[in-house]
Symmetry: D2
Subunit: 262 residues, 4 copies
């Protein structure tokens, strides 16, 4: 069986900031969140590549996009720097079948907002409070091997209301010590592609070091991987018919000019 080809993209900005915050983050993720996750999620069935915004072609040349089965996305302060043309390509690839796992502040990334069609806005607070996740769905590949509930001792709060479409299937809802709730694990299908948004992952806390979080991310990558690809349709498809006996009142008129794009 061939490996699932995973690409972990990180804007990699916080990890390189000067000053005490950057210093603190580097104690948690010395080589960046992307490289940390590459190591933490390593497994025989996964071929993981870690890339970042500062690399050529923003880390995602066409050849890599077209060789990626599941894209994991971490971004926060540099969303605006991601090229729109790259977002177009990623959207097409997702609709074609590529899985997309969007992490934490990636809720505001161009690619997630593009897939959702909504503002994806939410409430937030950063006081290092406790978060408790609750599994909502009773049986799902993403929750396999994870306890029904578990805590993160310190986290950034992301709270409702979260402006996403109604068809998000709830995998997790989070409780926060400070009084908020959040749909923190939600799946969507768009075209051929599966999408998982997972809220935990603030850069100043070692959240990706947590065993449950790692288990969920590994599960999500395997869940999101496509069995196959199908080219998204660049155009609507003109199809023949069974047998039409109605008399077409337009039959005598050449309508081909009607479909010339102007």
């Amino acid at each position: 069986m061939s490996k699932i080809k995973v690409t972990i993209w990180n804007e990699n900005v916080h990890e390189r900031e000067e000053g005490p915050v950057g210093d603190h983050i580097r104690t948690i993720y010395p080589e960046g969140i992307h490289n940390y996750l590459k190591g933490a999620l390593a497994a025989d069935d996964l071929e993981i590549r870690a890339v970042s915004l500062d690399m050529p072609e923003q880390g995602l040349p066409d050849a890599l996009i077209n060789d990626t089965d599941v894209l994991v996305w971490w971004g926060h302060v540099a969303h605006a720097r991601v090229n729109d043309a790259l977002v177009d390509k990623l959207q097409a690839r997702v609709l074609n079948g590529m899985g997309l796992v969007v992490l934490h502040s990636g809720h505001y990334s161009k690619i997630f907002k593009r897939m959702m069609g909504t503002t994806c806005s939410l409430h937030w607070r950063e006081v290092g409070e406790k978060e408790r996740l609750w599994q909502i769905v009773r049986r799902h590949p993403i929750t396999e091997g994870v306890p029904e509930t578990f805590t993160l001792p310190h986290t950034e709060m992301y709270g409702e209301s979260f402006d996403i479409p109604d068809d998000g299937k709830l995998i997790y809802i989070s409780w926060y010590e400070g009084g908020n709730v959040f749909r923190s694990g939600v799946t969507f299908q768009r075209g051929n592609g599966r999408i998982f948004y997972f809220a935990p992952g603030h850069e100043t806390f070692p959240i990706y070091h947590d065993a449950n979080i790692q288990k969920i991310l590994g599960n999500a990558i395997r869940w999101a991987a496509p069995e196959c690809y199908r080219e998204p349709w660049d155009e609507n498809i003109r199809v023949p018919h069974e047998k039409v006996t109605s008399e077409n009142p337009m039959a005598a008129i050449d309508t081909s000019a009607l479909h010339k794009k102007v």
Copy 2:
């Protein structure tokens, strides 16, 4: 009670084409589909404006957008000419609460694809075949006063698979003489806004002259009208907390720099 302010937008290209096809369309819609619908849907509770792509600011200056409760959209061959900046404004307005009724080939419009996040592609055929619509939902404001099933004698076929998100609530499925089916009436909610896609409406057949079609469109406009508007959130909202007793390991570090967009 104040009137619902409706704006019917039409690319108005087919209606002005030279040659026999344009001549034929003008026999059905002498002043364009937008002006025809303005007349056909006239009612005491609606204030209807008809605009088109060839007007200044593509027919939709900011003042009109901000005064519109429900936008009806008809486009086909000129989707690419609609300005992206206008689409941004319309999306924001829909998420803010404006209803959006997308007609026929508007399934491929920039605004509909933006709201959906998918290709919105489909199968099609133009042989003037019969279409039969079936009401799927058993009780809905959009179907009030419309028989459970009715036919259109000649139509363009739009067929499955139709690449839209899973949360489309089915109002109508169409049967076509030539052997296809289509989710021809589907609603969505995105942010505060309600969206209705309705497939019938090919320009070379007098479909908008049909009494059932007019009834459905009038119902849909009233269903989609917002009770109120709320500004969409330009930013996530930072919120206070109940009472957090966890000790924040970041409390001694100034993290404000982290949120500076780069």
Copy 3:
């Protein structure tokens, strides 16, 4: 405009218990929860009847069921005493169009479980902790006039996972001081009928005295009221066809015997 005919059903067991708990509950609801709500929700557009399990025909004779637009249900320890034949009638009436508002421990009532098809089980705890409700949907008739978030100082905790179908539209998620979350306000449509489950309402706390709770219940009753009734189909409907040209290989055989129920 005719009034919405509301029937509030209460098992009315706790309110009549002897001892200190019953005494306490009677200080909150001297005439029972049903009669308290009848008074609290009184409005010009509502005709409210309060009934209880100890009345003839368990409070719901056919004439009353058939005259009810919205049924509000409160039950807890006496679910098993409700007759199955009554549940059959209520289910048929809901599918016919009657709204159903299920309160608190009514999640385990026969009628709610019948409508859902699932166990409707949940986690719970009774320590009088604080509950905070968060509005999830950004625009909905049930939340009109209610703040985005509000608290109940003391409540019974109902927590996830809550075993309900996936098509529950989230109106509220609750946060509990003790670390749990719950989909505490959820709507469903079944047949012609609208259903709203709303978790707050434990009998030992004056939750129905809360102005926000009352506002939500009044909104929910108006939202759930049907515009019209349609008889549910006792049988599948045999329908004629457009025009079938395929040769039926069974045409020579009398198949009427096949449909005789045995």
Copy 4:
């Protein structure tokens, strides 16, 4: 890897009828639909048992139910003869994780109606017309290896509106020669269990001989099989809390009597 344990249940009434109809059906299914499917779906990863209503314990003794991973159900005229106690057990097993594949006129079976909560009524017609199925979802395990569209030359028509809950995920919509449409392949999740309703399968036509139909059924069985079982909760679960600091006004009162079922 252990085999998926499949039980195919058939009321087996039509196949044993006297007269020309029964004779005709026996030419298609000499040993009954259940035994035909047992043979047609035979595969190394499936352990298939074929049972029928006329067997002891209606074909489904407890030991067999508890050893079944996926139950396939075919019934038509004998729904009423299925014991309610058996339906209770099957529902509990599905909520526990057992897959359920409901065929054709099983839409009106007690177990399907129990899982749905709706009437499950539909329109129908039996003139042996052509049916064409269209795949709606673009990527799903149930459609693997099946063409996007295919036909059945002669079928009983099942048409909309079909009274099922909104969360049915559309796998197939059928077109019928006579002018109807139907959501003919729909999945649901209820508790831990997956459900697939699939409309084709009328007893007087050799529909289960069709290679595409067999492929879909095999796929559906594998899709519906649970990875594991979890006991459904007979009772709500009382859970401890994180830390509640609110003072409980009921703390001085013994509330244990409140939860005594009456």
